[in-house]
């Protein structure tokens, strides 16, 4: 039983080197790669892709520039005003040449075909002019598509880089307060919303409005009366219907989107929880429940069907009714010699051409509003200043010995709820200090102040005597190594993940980090060694291996100061042993701050600092603290009694 299609990794789409695999984005529907039947076409396309120049954007920790803070549509387009002007000019050409046809037919009929005026020369001339007009239209349309396509692509590119750069400089507070999905939206749909507007929308707004004017003008030359009647018959109803339709289908679209999200969410949970489902005999129940979820999606689809079925055939009927009216009213005028037959034919042919501009204008107006709202959101984003700004006169931090001092530091994520209160603490170069304490005592927060993820509300944090706020962020963080509680892996090769701090190094250096944490065996077992691609949500690595990679990454950075938030997640015994050994290698010869969740880890430290309710309540070596009695001795007591099995033999006792 072959299952060919399954299990193939997502193909890479990057033309150049070093790009990341396109895994499913965080928001929206999963993108599972290009379907195999289209792969050939895509490959052919990629062959024609030129080398792109090296990225050149400069990153700076300074707040967004004044221009970004005033972001608006006009500004975005004016940056490429030549392309914009050209696009508008081409649209103007199209809206004239595209409407010449029926007028030429009318001319041909009136001056070449009706009794008394039969002249094939006129017909020939009109036909030739018609063909010429068609050719001009096609040429101008083609040029316009190319010009607006470039305009849109450039503006979007520019915007993507600027928004991303700004996101990069915002502080951790922004990332904790704002949901990941919302931040994602700023970089994805808010920018993509503008794509359609720029590529087609703005030119269309101009072009369609102009088309209406041109048609009306041509018809006026034939019969003012019939023109006014035609407009009165068609335009108001069509406009109202289209406005209704645009709103209703917007709502319908949202319902469908929620519906499919529900369906895929339910399916995804059933698949991920498949063992739990089976163990609890929930299959039948879930089948019925899924039917309800799919049913809701189907109802939403049926709702949009209702809207589409009303609008599509409805406007079509309006067109035919208009023709009947033209035949009646215009026919009478022809019979009374108020109108030529040719002109009546032209009216018939122009009638339908009123429809598209009105429909498009209403829809484009909607796109325009969406674009405006996206621009507003982006502008708000640019106006958010980084919370740990770099001073314009910040100095480079020289290579440090690693002395860290907390000087009367107070801090709270919210002003009214302090997390740290007047903490004073001095850590000597090369010393290993473990912070222990209850969850919420403030030990992780203290660590975040050392890396300057946050600034203290009062007091100072100093490294080698430099206030952290007076040095550049880059020079500070390059000398710090951080191992977060949850190891984070980027989608990319093992090498990229380990050599994250200094990417362009020889393999030996990467291997040195691998060896230091005892990961060689694991890497060598991987199909492509260091080049094996790992995914953040992939299951190719155990959580122990992921932690080891995070440690290797910190080791490779060779920081002077190490801040390590111990993982609380489950490890099997072997990994745990390895992680502990790796930790020993990492701690050697550097200042280290450990946020310890396990007392075994705390015992590794030269000094243990007990944090309670935002204050340092005890400080000293393991033995000293045990002797002292107090909170640490109590914690230790609980731990010893809890972790020993009843039948534990005395010889096995480890603490």
């Amino acid at each position: 039983m072959s299952f060919g299609g399954f299990g193939q990794g997502a193909p890479m789409f990057g033309g150049g080197g070093g790009s990341r695999a396109a895994a499913a984005p965080g928001g929206g529907l999963p993108f599972a790669g290009i379907p195999s039947e289209l792969q050939e076409g895509v490959d052919a396309l990629l062959l024609s892709e030129p080398e792109h120049p090296e990225p050149s954007a400069r990153f700076s920790h300074l707040p967004a520039d004044a221009q970004s803070k005033q972001l608006n549509l006009r500004q975005l387009i004016f940056r490429h005003w030549r392309l914009g002007a050209l696009a508008v000019a081409l649209v103007c050409v199209v809206s004239v040449t595209n409407q010449l046809g029926p007028a030429l037919i009318a001319l041909g009929i009136n001056h070449g075909m009706v009794p008394g005026h039969r002249d094939f020369g006129v017909v020939l001339l009109c036909g030739a002019l018609f063909l010429l007009a068609v050719a001009a239209t096609a040429g101008a349309q083609s040029a316009q598509a190319m010009v607006s396509g470039r305009l849109a692509a450039r503006v979007m590119n520019d915007l993507r880089v600027r928004v991303f750069a700004h996101l990069q400089r915002l502080g951790l507070d922004y990332y904790t307060e704002e949901k990941a999905g919302v931040i994602m939206t700023r970089m994805t749909s808010d920018i993509e919303n503008l794509q359609q507007l720029l590529q087609d929308g703005l030119a269309q707004l101009v072009g369609q409005a102009l088309t209406m004017v041109v048609i009306t003008a041509i018809l006026f030359t034939m019969s003012v009366e019939l023109t006014l009647i035609t407009i009165a018959l068609v335009v108001p109803i069509l406009t109202l219907a289209t406005v209704w339709f645009t709103r209703a289908s917007q709502e319908g679209y949202e319902r469908v989107r929620d519906g499919i999200a529900g369906v895929l969410g339910d399916l995804s949970e059933s698949l991920h929880g498949v063992r739990t489902v089976a163990a609890h005999n929930r299959q039948r129940w879930n089948v019925v429940e899924h039917r309800n979820v799919v049913g809701a999606y189907r109802d939403a689809n049926n709702y949009t069907a209702q809207i589409n079925a009303l609008y599509g055939p409805g406007t079509q009927m309006l067109g035919y009714l208009g023709q009947a009216a033209l035949l009646g009213i215009g026919g009478e005028m022809v019979l009374h010699h108020h109108l030529s037959i040719g002109a009546l034919v032209a009216f018939f042919l122009y009638l339908n051409r009123f429809f598209a501009p009105i429909q498009l204008l209403v829809q484009q107006y909607n796109t325009f509003q969406q674009g405006q709202s996206s621009v507003r959101k982006l502008r708000t984003l640019f106006r958010t200043d980084p919370s740990t700004p770099q001073r314009p006169d910040a100095a480079e931090l020289p290579p440090v010995r690693g002395e860290i001092v907390f000087d009367q530091v107070s801090f709270g994520y919210l002003p009214q709820t302090p997390v740290l209160r007047e903490v004073s603490l001095s850590i000597a170069p090369g010393e290993t200090v473990a912070f222990v304490g209850q969850t919420g005592a403030g030990k992780s927060t203290a660590a975040k102040l050392i890396t300057r993820f946050y600034d203290p509300t009062e007091g100072r944090v100093l490294i080698d005597g430099h206030d952290l706020r007076e040095v550049t962020l880059d020079s500070l963080r390059r000398q710090l190594g951080v191992v977060p509680q949850e190891p984070f892996l980027f989608a990319g090769s093992l090498r990229e993940n380990i050599a994250f701090a200094r990417p362009r190094v020889a393999d030996e250096e990467v291997w040195r980090a691998v060896d230091a944490v005892g990961l060689r065996e694991v890497v060598e077992r991987m199909p492509d060694g260091l080049d094996t691609v790992v995914h953040e949500r992939g299951q190719s690595l155990s959580s122990g291996e992921r932690q080891l990679i995070a440690l290797a990454r910190a080791f490779h950075a060779q920081p002077r100061v190490l801040v390590l938030d111990e993982a609380t997640s489950n490890l099997d015994l072997l990994s745990e042993t390895k992680v502990e050994a790796a930790l020993d290698a990492l701690l050697e010869q550097r200042t280290a701050v450990l946020i310890a969740h396990r007392l075994t880890t705390a015992m590794k430290a030269d000094r243990i600092v007990v944090v309670d309710d935002g204050r340092v309540v005890q400080s000293g070596s393991h033995d000293e603290l045990l002797e002292q009695g107090g909170p640490y001795a109590q914690m230790y007591e609980t731990w010893v009694s809890g972790s020993e099995p009843d039948a534990e033999p005395g010889s096995g006792s480890d603490v």
Binding site: G5, F6, G15, S19, P25, G26, P30, F31, P35, G41, L45, P55, R58, I105, G112, M113, V123, C126, A138, S142, A145, A152, A153, M156, M187, Q199, V263, E269, H272, R275, T276, A278, A279, H280, V287, V288, E289, H290, R291, N292, N301, A305, N308, Q316, M317, Y320, Q323, G331, I341, L349, N352, R477, G481, T568, L571, L574, T577, E644, P645, A647
Partner: protein, 613 residues
Amino acid sequence: MSVATDETGGRAASADGFVPSGNSSRHQAPRAWIDPDRSRSWLARALPIVLARKLTLFSALGLSFVSLLAQVQIPSLLNSAVTDALEHHNGSLGHYVRIVLALAVAAGVISYAARLLLMRTAYAIEFDLRNMIYEHLTRMSFSFYDRVQSGQLISRANSDIRSVQMYLTFGPNILVQCSIAVVAFIYMLTIDVPLAFVAMLTLPLVFLMGVRMRRSLFPVSWLIQARLAEVATIVDENINGVRVVKSFAAEQRELHQLQGAADRLRWAYIRDADLRARFTPLVQNLPQVGLALILLAGGYLVIHGHLGVGAILAFSAYVVMLQAPFQMLGMLVMLGQRAAASAARIYEVLDEQPAVVDAPGARALDRCRGDVRFDGVSFAYSADGPPVLADLHLHLHPGQTVAMVGRTGSGKTTVARLLPRFYDVSAGGVLVDGTDVRELTLESLRGQIGLVLDEPFLFSVSVHDNIAYGRPGATREQVRRAARAAGADEFISRLPDGYGTVVGERGYTLSGGQRQRIAIARTLLLNPPILVLDDATSAIDVQVEQEIHEALRTLMQGRTTLIVAHRLSTIALADRVVLLDGGRIVADGTHAQLLETSPLYVEVLARAQEAKR
């Protein structure tokens, strides 16, 4: 294929609003299944699901045809009206106006009905397909899920179903629309033969260009999707990995990473614009060329007295009318290719047979005593894979708690998976109360076994619904009692909405220890005589571990329990310890006995101790 639609037990009505979601559906189960004959074409295999909706589908197509017939009359009537009533003053104009009015109204109403019916049919077929696949997936065994990535399945359920559904329902409609071209052509022939051919001249080109346009645009639009996903991936990683990026001062590099992706995206967008610039003006303006040709040829015929002026209007109107169906015909060709590939991927799933099913005549297990026996069990995950268990014998007496210990890969987790029959043994047998599990119905067997997994999975529903997962009819009080026994009541009450708090991937995030205790409560509520525990209490706060062990002791009372133990502290929960090595039991006894008699046991424990140090 039949599935019980309603199995609503007594449900708790509660003022707090955390009643479990009801389990009845006003929606019907799928009515048909794909043709199981794999040798047939994908369309032939899909026929039963289409025919299950034949009434609405054929009504929609029939109505659509009628409406088009009405529309085709109109240009021809305009021709007669202009030529006869206006040019030759022969016949009443009002007569023609009334007919056109009537036809317009008829066409509009019928076409509304046709469109609505057709779309509803489309969504009905999609509904059937989705439920069919879901139902099929619930029946699949674990060996299937070991092989298949859920992300792939979800994407199949997402886009592949859509593309098959679109083709199955819109295909016939586009064909109906194009069949109208034949009717229109006949009408034109009755007016004038040569001009009819001139008018139709450009339409095949519209079709051909349409096909070519889509063929070249499809790859580039997928490339754009891929590259949008690439940008999104980088953003996603920089959001989730923001601490790493910041602490390694890698902002500049990440910015370049993104700029590179954005540059590649820009190229794809420009490529797309250029391809559109090449094809769209052609496809849109070809019918205009047709109009010019009608003017030229028609003019010639009018001048020489073969035709009336009305014919020029009628022929022009036909060309405008037929333009859209011919463009859609081009789309249909591409849709067909996509749908065939999508259908192949869907059938691949539907053709899979579950490996573990009820045997014919399987009987229900009720009031189980909890006597479990592994009798010479051998097992491998795949037919040609390495054996994981080899001739394993193990007997658990009712009410006994047995801990399984062994090195990684010794097979202890596998033993636990065989008991609820997640897999079938390759040799030997697993017996519950003396009956081979393969002779029991899956549902009754699993109903007697409670399972607490190493990484408990919580669904994105309320805490109440999560605890009542195996017994959706449980009352609020029952759920609360289970939570209390599992030591979970206290923290649940402190959650923002108490038992109504939605947790799981799309809800409130609970700590590992909290999830554990909810999973224990979930199993307690089932009150199963047999219990399987995959040890998960490793590396949580000492405090929390103690609380969980407390909960586990409550859970295990009076039940036969099999524990997969990874750490020493868990072993302390068991009456008896068995040591597994190489897929066999190599030592069996109390913890103290094993320490004395088995060097391997001491080694495994020493590892545990070493890790703790």
